[in-house]
Every structure is written in structure tokens, then in C-alpha cells.
């Protein structure tokens, strides 16, 4: 007996919170705003936990329909909600991390203006994100998709009086739109071919089709879906908005641009795995984009001096890993990394926010240093996250990243190689950040008086409140979420320990029913490309698996070792360059000259886009659309028709001369016309 879960409540609760805070928040005290925000996001989290408790008694996938929506001929779409294992994981991540960040934000934003507005937007974001992941059809998901883009715009441009923040918000929204265009085209193709957008219906409609080796309409749909994912999840070529999005408050970066919104693309691709499985060309494209993005972003990350920018490029790079996983059809590995990434990247951003808060708004790492004694809690939690992302054994990042690299190797060794190099670079820049921030001598100004609010931290001098003491630890309300996330970063990976290392991969098993291959003659786990699985059925499944595992177990262990080695190498190099011999980086930079400049300037990608796309588009808009069409065609038509009417009436009004005799003349003329007509008719 499947209980009715009322899933629709989960998104609605934050929406109510957003409305209350948005409409009345200006009159509320900060405490009331906090209460409202915490109540509704906490309620969503509580409901998610309750769903977990009900989970075992559900028949999966669980769907419920709130109301019919579109009924146009044979096409139907409902406000429907969908729950399976994948949704459950996403739900816990979004509501859990979201709730923690709500708690953290109260401390971070306490001194800021627009307090109520921030929490209204944050709750609004939760509403849209939950709609996205709980939707039962692509259309409702698209609403959530667009909505999180809107919330992102509102939150990035939170300090909208600052030009750079407003522009960053616009950039995020517009670049997202480009991706959304691809998404929409994919939706149209799905409607055209399958007549429906419901997930279960589309999946069952896709089943009869075989693998399109050379491309076909399924490949087109998959590629277009990937375009949408590139926009939302900041992959090449649409990643450019994410670094700029750091203009927003740090909790926003943590929630939206690390843990939840940017993962929507990965979620969407995983949801559509039935389509992607049948389009090997699309899968290859996804894997290539993911791998390239991971490497590309990581290289930029090693030169950045703003602590948040480093983390931003790190996010882009880690998202690249997730797409690499999806591209080799290792969807559950991608989701696993999504989960661990939410923990450690969210923690990294929140801790970075704590650091920035402590030094009075400074974000440049060159002006930090030696903070580890002064802000111990922040230091230890950030250390946990840094070790996790670098893939140090035992922590969550190690398991998830390794899973991806192993699966990538099984598809194509080049993916693995680039992935390993990227892991090295990741470890290097993360430890560079770690050393520059927490070790050595303090190079900043907060000690000596007022560290006035660096612009990105807000338009108010943040140091005023505590400028007297210099560097200080953050309040408890900010530290508690850091500790919880640190705990998850350290221990969160144990749900997915692979068989090679002695665990039974609970995570993968949990998600197996979701990603069950729907192809006609495949095995029931989501391998891709392993040659053994194409043999006939002379050998039984179990024996086959045992044989595979044994042979691969040793290889997997070797590769795991290589990953660990690479991580430690990055740590060593960072220690060397930023602790032991801090003058070396400058010399290297000078020696590399042009190459270094290119990397520091993000390979001039923004400038290229501006020159190739933005300027011509603005030129066309101004010249053709505004002057040419709007002014000279549309306005001219209206103005000229009005002028014409004026002219005509100017002529006609001369009849009203006031002169009696002209009236008489007209009457006589009219009478004559009538008479002539009557005579003509009468004598015909």
C-alpha cells in the first residue's frame, strides 16, 4: 500500500517562506525574518527526512499528480511529482545543504542591508530547485530550471547598486538562456517524436529504439540536452558566467554555484540516461566536454589570487568530472561525486566566507596568511574540505573521484590520463590556497585598524563592526554548519566504497534500479564498453561478474594508487612553492611570461566572446532592430498613419466652413445626385 506522500508540499513550503519574507519582510525584525526563513527551509528538510522514512514502503518510481496543466490535443502535461532513488538523494542534498546554508547566512548577512530580501530570494531558490528535482515531466523541470536561473540572477546581483554585481547577474542569466535554448529545442524534438514530456512515458517510448551508432534524432535530442546542461552547469563553452557569479554573497556561491543549481545539468542528463545510452556520439561529446572543461578550468585555477575565484574555477573543473562520468555512462558515479562535491565544495565556500568575514572583507589571498592560529575552527573545517577535494585517501572526495577515473579508464584511457593530470592540478591549487591563506606570515591590513569592506563583501565597511580587534573567529551560527559539512566531507564517502577496496558499493547498488540499462541486450549494471559483457549467455551473470571483478580489482588498486600519488605530489609542490620558498612562484611566472599572462587572464575567453558575439550583436540590435525596424518601420507606420489621418481630416474639415451658402450648395448637389439616380433607375 503506497502512502500518499504529498510531495508537492516540499517545494511549496519554501515558496510560502519566500512570499512571507518578500511581502512583509521589510517590516519584520531580523529575528522574525530569520525565523521565517529557517522554519520553511527546515520544514522542507524535515519533510525530506520523513520521505526517507517512508521510502521502504513505496513502490518505485513513485508518482503523484497535483493537477492537470496542459491538455492540447494529444499532448498532456501535469503538475506531477516523481520520486525514485535518484530524486531522493538530490532531495536530501538540496534540502540538507540548503538548510545548513540558511543557518550560516544569518551570521554572514547580519550586518548587511536587504536582509529580508536575501532570505526571500534564498527560499525562492529552494522552491525552484525542489520543483526541478521533484518534477515528473520535462516541462515542470524546465520551470524549475528557469526559476533557479532567475534566483541565481537575483542573488548574484544582490548588491545591485554595484555595477560589476549587476553585470554579473545579467551575464549569468543571459548565458544560461543560451543553454536553455538548446534545452527547449530538445523538448520540442521529444514532443515531436514521442508526444509527451513525462519521464516514465518518454523512457518507455524510447525503449524500442536501438543504439544510433551514426547519429539520428535521439542523438540530436541528447546533444541539445547537453547544450542546456552546459549552460546551467557551466561547461565549455558556456562556463563564463560562473567566475563572475562570485560577485554575489558567499553563501549564494556555496548553495547555488557549488552544491545545487550547477548540478541541475548533471541531474538532468542522468534523468535522460535512456536517451543518452542510445546515442554514443552524444555520450562521447559529453565526455569530451567534461574532460576538457575539467582540465581547462583547473589550469586557470592555479593562477587566480581571489580566494573565491579559485573555488569558482574549481567548481567548473569538478563539474567537468561529473560530466566525464555521465559521458562514459557511469551515471551513478557522477551522482556520487555530485553528492560529495556538494559537501566539500559547499564547505569550502562557507569556510572561505568565514575567512573573508574574519579579515574584514579581504578576498585577495596575497593579503592573507598565517590565519590558522587565529581562526582555528574555520581552519580545521577548511582543511577537511581541502583534503577531501584533493583526493586524500579515506575522505569522501577520494572515493567519488576514483570511481569516476576508474570508469573513465574503462571507456578510454585518454579520459583517465587527462583526469589524473587534472587531479594533480586540483590538488596543487587547493593546497596553494590552503598554504597561502592559513600559513606563513599575515600580509594583510585587518590587524592594523579597520579592514574596510572589500567591495565584493558588500557595500558597507564590514570591518566597522569588529574592526577594533582585527582578525576574529566567526560567530557560532556560522561555525556549526561548517562543522556539520566537515563531518560529511570526511565520512560521507563511505557509502560508496568500491569492491576493489573491500567495501560493497552501497551507493551504486542503491541507484542501480534508476540507471538500469534500458537497452535490449545489455547487462543490468551501468558499465559501458567492457568487452566481456558482449559475450553470449554461456557464462552466467554471477560468474561473469566475479571474473571481471577479479581481473579488474588489481588494476583498480593500481590506479587508485596513482591517484593518491598524484594528490600527494600536488600537496608537496604547493608546500614547496607557497610555504618553503615563497619567492619561487614569482620567478616562475616571470619565466613563463606570455603563457602565464594568458592563463591569468583566463585565456582571454571573455574578451573573445565580447568581440565575436557581444559587440556584433549589440551593433545589430542598435543599427538594425532599433533604428532600422523599430524607429523607421514600426514607429514610422504609426506616426505616418496618424499624420495621414491628420492630413485627410485637415482637408475634409474645410467643409465645415460655417458658410451657409456652401452648405446649401452641398445640399443641392446631394439632392441632384439623388434625383439623377432616381431618374436613371426609373427610366431604365
Amino acid at each position: 500500500m503506497t502512502p500518499h506522500l504529498h510531495l508537492w508540499l516540499i517545494p511549496i513550503l519554501p515558496l510560502i517562506g519566500a512570499t512571507i519574507n518578500g511581502v512583509f519582510g521589510k517590516r519584520f525584525s531580523r529575528q522574525t525574518v530569520t525565523g521565517v526563513a529557517w522554519t520553511f527551509s527546515g520544514a522542507a528538510f524535515a519533510m525530506a527526512l520523513w520521505v526517507v522514512s517512508q521510502f521502504s514502503s513505496l513502490v518505485l518510481p513513485y508518482t503523484e499528480q497535483l493537477a492537470p496543466w496542459i491538455q492540447a490535443g494529444s499532448f498532456h502535461a501535469e503538475f506531477g511529482f516523481y520520486l525514485d532513488q535518484l530524486t531522493l538523494i538530490m532531495l536530501l542534498i538540496v534540502t540538507g545543504v540548503g538548510f545548513l546554508i540558511h543557518i550560516y547566512s544569518v551570521g554572514y548577512m547580519w550586518e548587511e542591508g536587504g536582509f529580508y530580501r536575501f532570505f526571500s530570494y534564498l527560499n525562492l531558490f529552494l522552491f525552484f530547485m525542489l520543483t526541478l528535482i521533484l518534477a515528473s515531466n520535462y516541462l515542470l523541470m524546465f520551470i524549475g530550471w528557469e526559476g533557479v536561473g532567475l534566483a541565481s540572477y537575483l542573488l548574484i546581483g544582490f548588491w545591485f547598486t554595484k555595477d560589476s554585481a549587476a553585470s554579473a547577474g545579467k551575464k549569468a542569466f543571459i548565458v544560461n538562456r543560451i543553454g536553455d535554448f538548446g534545452f527547449l529545442l530538445a523538448l520540442f524534438l521529444i514532443i515531436q517524436h514521442f508526444g509527451t514530456l513525462d519521464f516514465t512515458q518518454v523512457t518507455s517510448a524510447v525503449i524500442p529504439y536501438g543504439i544510433e551508432a551514426g547519429g539520428g534524432f535521439l542523438t540530436a535530442i541528447a546533444i541539445l540536452l547537453m547544450v542546456g546542461a552546459c549552460g546551467k552547469s557551466a561547461q565549455i563553452p558556456l562556463y563564463v558566467w560562473l567566475p563572475d557569479a562570485m560577485e554575489g554573497p558567499t553563501p549564494v556561491s556555496a548553495l547555488i554555484h557549488a552544491a545545487t543549481m550547477v548540478t541541475a545539468g548533471v541531474y538532468m542528463v542522468s534523468r535522460s540516461h535512456a536517451i543518452f545510452e542510445r546515442a554514443p556520439i552524444a555520450l562521447t561529446i559529453v565526455a569530451i566536454i567534461g574532460t576538457l572543461t575539467a582540465f581547462f578550468a583547473a589550469t586557470i585555477g592555479i593562477t587566480q589570487t581571489d580566494i573565491k575565484k579559485v573555488l569558482a574555477y574549481s567548481t567548473v573543473s569538478q563539474l567537468g568530472y561529473m560530466f566525464m562520468a555521465c559521458g562514459v555512462a557511469a551515471f551513478s558515479a557522477g551522482i556520487f561525486h555530485l553528492m560529495t562535491h556538494a559537501f566539500f565544495k559547499g564547505l569550502l565556500f562557507l569556510a572561505a566566507g568565514s575567512v573573508i568575514h574574519s579579515v574584514g572583507g579581504e578576498q585577495d589571498m596575497r593579503k592573507m596568511g598565517g590565519l590558522r592560529k587565529k581562526i582555528p575552527w574555520t581552519f580545521w573545517t577548511m582543511t577537511a574540505a581541502t583534503f577531501a577535494i584533493a583526493g586524500i585517501p579515506g575522505l569522501s572526495g577520494f572515493f567519488s573521484k576514483d570511481e569516476i577515473l576508474w570508469r573513465a579508464y574503462q571507456a578510454n584511457w585518454i579520459y583517465w590520463l587527462i583526469g589524473v593530470i587534472t587531479a594533480f592540478i586540483t590538488s596543487f591549487y587547493m593546497f596553494r590556497l590552503w598554504f597561502m591563506t592559513f600559513f606563513g606570515e599575515y600580509r594583510g591590513e585587518a590587524e592594523s585598524g579597520h579592514g574596510h569592506g572589500h567591495d565584493a563583501h558588500g557595500s558597507h565597511g564590514h570591518g566597522d563592526g569588529h574592526g577594533h580587534g582585527g582578525i576574529h573567529e566567526s560567530p557560532k551560527v556560522m561555525l556549526i554548519p561548517l562543522v556539520i559539512l566537515a563531518f560529511l566531507s570526511v565520512f560521507g564517502g563511505y557509502v560508496g566504497v568500491p569492491a576493489a577496496l573491500g567495501g560493497s558499493n552501497h551507493f551504486e547498488k542503491f541507484l542501480a534500479p534508476v540507471f538500469e540499462s534500458t537497452l535490449p541486450n545489455q547487462s543490468t549494471t551501468d558499465h559501458a564498453g567492457t568487452p566481456e559483457s558482449e559475450r553470449g549467455d554461456q557464462i552466467t551473470e554471477a560468474e561473469l561478474q566475479k571474473y571481471e571483478h577479479k581481473a579488474e580489482k588489481s588494476t583498480e588498486l593500481i590506479f587508485t594508487g596513482i591517484s593518491v600519488l598524484v594528490g600527494l605530489l600536488g600537496l608537496f609542490l604547493a608546500w614547496l612553492l607557497y610555504y618553503r620558498r615563497p619567492q619561487l612562484p614569482q620567478e616562475i611566472a616571470l619565466a613563463l611570461g606570455g603563457l602565464y599572462r594568458g592563463v591569468v587572464n583566463k585565456y582571454y575567453v571573455d574578451e573573445i566572446y565580447a568581440a565575436v558575439f557581444v559587440k556584433p550583436l549589440i551593433g545589430i540590435s542598435r543599427g538594425v532592430f532599433w533604428h532600422g525596424i523599430d524607429q523607421h518601420v514600426i514607429d514610422a507606420t504609426l506616426d505616418d498613419s496618424a499624420a495621414g489621418a491628420r492630413e485627410v481630416s485637415g482637408v475634409v474639415r474645410r467643409m465645415q466652413s460655417g458658410n451657409l451658402r456652401s452648405y446649401a450648395g452641398w445640399i443641392a448637389f446631394g439632392a441632384a445626385v439623388v434625383v439623377v439616380y432616381m431618374v436613371w433607375v426609373g427610366t431604365r
Partner: protein, 100 residues
Amino acid sequence: MVPLPYYLLLSGILFACGVAGFLIKRNIITIFMSIELMLNGVNLSFVAFAAQWQALSGQVFVFFVMVVAAAEAAVGLAIIIAVYRTRATLNVDKVDLLKL
């Protein structure tokens, strides 16, 4: 024995003169008199047709026309007097304030 068309022709000539006077003359009172002339022309054709069709109601109708014409003349002349008082002119071209 006068053929009927002669009467009608006479009536038409009178009517045409009336219209012409209405269009050409500048004095309001003269214009009014042209209207009376038109009415008289019409009266003649009524009586002529009554004689032809042997219907006495034609002559009764003439009677009514005359009554109405008299009433109209009275009111019209009163208006002319009022106009003269305000405009101090009887020239119809000068009374053109109702123009756009």
C-alpha cells in the same frame, strides 16, 4: 385644355428659381423668400395632380403646406431678428462663426 406637363413645368421652373435664389443671394431675408418660392412651386404641382387624379386631398394637403410655411416663416423671421441683434448684419456670409 392645358396638358398637365405644362403645369408641372411651371412648378419646376418656380422651384428651380427658388433653389437658385437660395444659392446665389446673400441677404438672409431674400434667401428665406426663395424658400417660400420653392414651397409655392410645390403647391402648384400638388393642385395640378389633384386635378388630374380627381383627388381632393391634394388641395387639402396644399392647405397644410401653407399653414406650416406660415409657421416656419414666423419662427424664421424671429430668428433673423435675433441674429440681426447680435451680428448687426443681414449678410449670410458674415454669419460664419460655426466653422472649424
